[in-house]
Assembly symmetry: C2
Homo-oligomer: 447 residues x 2
């Protein structure tokens, strides 16, 4: 059978890419690496990050700034050994089927970059360098305070002493640092240079589709603080009957949720600043957004419509189990990949959500009102849920979820409207009934 | 009602962008402008190009090279007047609802760029500069021979004399030309600089989603010669019954087409070089591709599946007209925007085809085997069919369509397999029957 397209609609079987981060300390290299990895994994592209600092720490757990002096021979030797160990592990990982490996280190000299490039080229792996360059001293000190003073390198130390030591570490790197193609002799490299968090971006010799998707994603990242709220539509008439899909109106209690949502949102936002609201094109999400303040911008996306259940649209789980017992079973066994006859799988939904994720990354505060499967997929992106788990995440009705992205993860809070609703959750391997997820299965902390 | 998203899923009502082309003559500015306009129009974003050369020609139809000398006062005056007329027309067009206006001229001095920027800013229009920079002398001469010697500026003249005159015209521009931000004093501008047809790309201060989509599209263009072939699947069992949608097997004659397709393709390709084949995920396109040579790469895209007819899936037009007479009528009146209950409109299909178009632009030779509505949408992109026409284009079964993009348009050829098939075409306002398009309605020249 011909290969199906994966998350970004591209056949990657024959492509292997090593993304080599470049930049002085505290420029967001690990931040960018971690975002790229999460995005690719969400799109079913095997991706892993190899952080040279973690390898170095086994040998030199808490080195002072002068460990990073260019002519400290012991420091130089240990740092080189760490890089070699990281790259060796990456090559082993590529052999086992890895597609995008990210080398997270400063790689701040031309020699080091050439060494990685040659090694990868010998192994038939494409290399793309991604540099973050930033000379805004205030932002760098903010970055240091944000993440560096709590790094394992400074465990148990006074934060201000740590910040100063880290600033000195950077000065040692500055002595030998060369920005990509700074001298004009690296113009054959494939690279992306992000300057001052994306104010300017230079893209050099991008070769194929997968490279271009990574570049496009990375050039859309910003680091202004923001929040994403998620809510399912209020309970619908079909929810009441335990039927899936369809395009029903809200139930009486669903309507009550719609009327309560503005208050819930205000409580969670903590101020009157307006949000942008995205709904699907289905009646139940539009009705749920209806009572939100008039000055909120609202936008309908077809990409936010519920997973299409194909021939099973409008049926109860019991009816599906009776009419299509094999399908019912197959879906339980691999819910992520199971595609309803004439409909969609979770994998399909992720593909159509990709532009939504891209737009979310570009945006500031957004409230999304959508459907169970769609919210599971968006939630999986932010929370790095693996594909075996994401289709089973309980997303109860009448509950607002607040996601706050941080440097290396996302905080979750939920706000319950305290308006009763049917459960639309069904456990794996259970009978064809909606049930209440047991408390330990509930992945959310309630606020 | 909340606004629906348009082709690129973004609310553009409050955005107006002036794309200002920058670059010496014969750098592909008009080529890029025309591609951007076609792409945006296909996505339902009102876009228009204002070519200063066309305005200048009313005053100076066939000027010699020295008309373009920086200190030829008459030339300077006429060229400035032409720019002013073009910009004035563009501003009028924005007032009438234009969203992306493209100013196609060399705009090769900082003064000229500042003049446009100030004027647009006063009118609340965002400006994005798009420069094509190229110093490959062979490519420039090839460009001149490709399009300049046949330009109206040189009508009736000897091509070689024309080429030389044009080369001299360029030298006059070179005297005053400044590349974007060449002196470091234009770094506040929003710009895209494409160097040597995309080998390097610089992106500066891109502000919003629409800008970023335009930039992403333009950075994916290439100008290597290539061809796109389109075919519908072979006749299916449901085609025989006049039913739409579904996921049927091929009919006997459809199978015959699948077996003949390799020969038809070889005839059209003219050689044995392998193609990449894209099909939908439905049985009838996969079966149609089955007999193509084993060394062709094959890829299945869900985005290439047929327009989803929702509740009408599997019905005949007669059944639809009987069961949903209002819908049947509504679809006739605005077929592009009519969305089947629980299904899709042509507009929806275009949205999900956007990544396909992007990937097509990046690729070289591709053979697409898909479905009537999908092929109409792809055809509309290449041939600039307006939305009132594209859903009615006859795309007969058992016919291979060859599209060859040229500098300013696309050539079409068709290859008939001479295997009978039912017609799946229905005229606007006609009865609920499939019929044969009358010869004058057939938009393709048969080979
Ligand atoms: N493009 C960027 N430019 C500058 N700062 C950024 C960028 N992206 C993320 N950040 C910020 O950088 C901080 C994270 O720093 P991070 O640990 O990723 O730096 P690093 O470059 O990996 O440093 P080190 O070399 O010490 O590992 C966060 O506060 C994040 O907001
Ligand atoms: N990015 C590019 N760089 C160089 N050439 C290109 C590029 N894109 C397209 N071309 C080629 O340029 C030719 C078209 O030239 P075009 O008429 O668009 O130039 P122009 O810049 O508009 O010139 P003029 O200033 O005379 O109007 C085609 O042959 C096309 O293949
Ligand atoms: Mg780091
Ligand atoms: Mg031109």
């Amino acid at each position: 059978m011909a290969p199906r397209t994966n998350g970004i609609g591209v056949q990657v079987e024959n492509t292997r890419i090593c993304v080599v981060m470049v930049g002085l300390p505290a420029r967001g290299k690990s931040y960018i690496a971690q975002k790229a990895q999460r995005y690719l994994a969400w799109l079913s592209i095997p991706a892993a990050t190899f952080n040279v600092g973690n390898y170095r720490r086994t040998d030199a757990p808490q080195p002072p700034a002068d460990f990073f002096e260019p002519n400290n021979p012991e420091g130089e030797r240990k740092r080189r050994a760490a890089a070699e160990a990281a790259v060796a592990d990456m090559l082993r990982w590529f052999k086992k089927g890895g597609v995008v490996g990210i080398l997270d280190a400063t790689n701040s000299t031309k020699e080091r970059r050439k060494w990685v490039l040659d090694l990868m080229t010998q192994n038939n792996i494409e290399v793309i360098f991604v540099e973050s360059k930033c000379d805004d001293e205030n932002m760098i000190m903010a970055n240091i305070r944000d993440v560096k003073t709590t790094s394992p390198d400074y465990q148990g130390q006074d934060p201000e002493t740590a910040a100063l030591d880290f600033r000195n570490r950077i000065r040692n790197y500055e002595k030998v640092y060369k920005s990509l193609n700074q001298d004009g002799d690296e113009e054959d490299l494939t690279f992306l240079k992000i300057m001052n968090v994306g104010k300017q971006v230079i893209i050099n010799r991008i070769r194929d589709y997968l490279q271009s998707r990574i570049v496009y994603y990375l050039m859309n990242l910003h680091i202004r603080p923001r929040t994403v709220w998620l809510s399912r539509h209020g309970e619908s008439m079909l929810n009441l009957e335990g039927r899936i899909g369809g395009d029903a109106e809200l139930s009486h209690r669903g309507e009550e949720y719609a009327r309560k949502l503005p208050e819930l949102v205000r409580e969670s936002v903590g101020s009157d600043r307006p949000l942008t609201v995205w709904t699907s094109t289905l009646k139940r999400t539009i009705a749920t957004a209806r009572h939100l303040p008039k000055h909120y911008n609202q936008l309908q996306w077809k990409a936010l419509d519920e997973l299409d259940a194909g021939v099973c649209d409008g049926m109860t789980y019991q009816e599906i189990a009776d009419m299509y017992p094999d399908d019912f079973q197959a879906r339980d066994e691999d819910k992520y990949n199971y595609r309803y006859r004439g409909g969609e799988s979770y994998r399909d939904v992720v593909i159509r959500l990709e532009p939504i994720i891209m737009e979310l990354e570009r945006s500031e505060d957004i409230l999304i009102i959508s459907h169970q499967a769609v919210i599971r997929c968006i939630y999986a992106y932010f929370m790095q849920k693996p594909q075996e788990e994401s289709p089973w995440v309980p997303v109860p009705l009448h509950t607002l979820i607040k996601l706050t992205p941080r440097a290396y993860g996302t905080d979750v809070q939920t706000y319950k409207a305290n308006i009763q609703a049917v459960s639309t959750w069904r456990g794996k391997g259970s009978t064809a009934k909606h049930e209440d997820p047991s408390p330990e299965k509930s992945l959310f902390q309630t606020h």
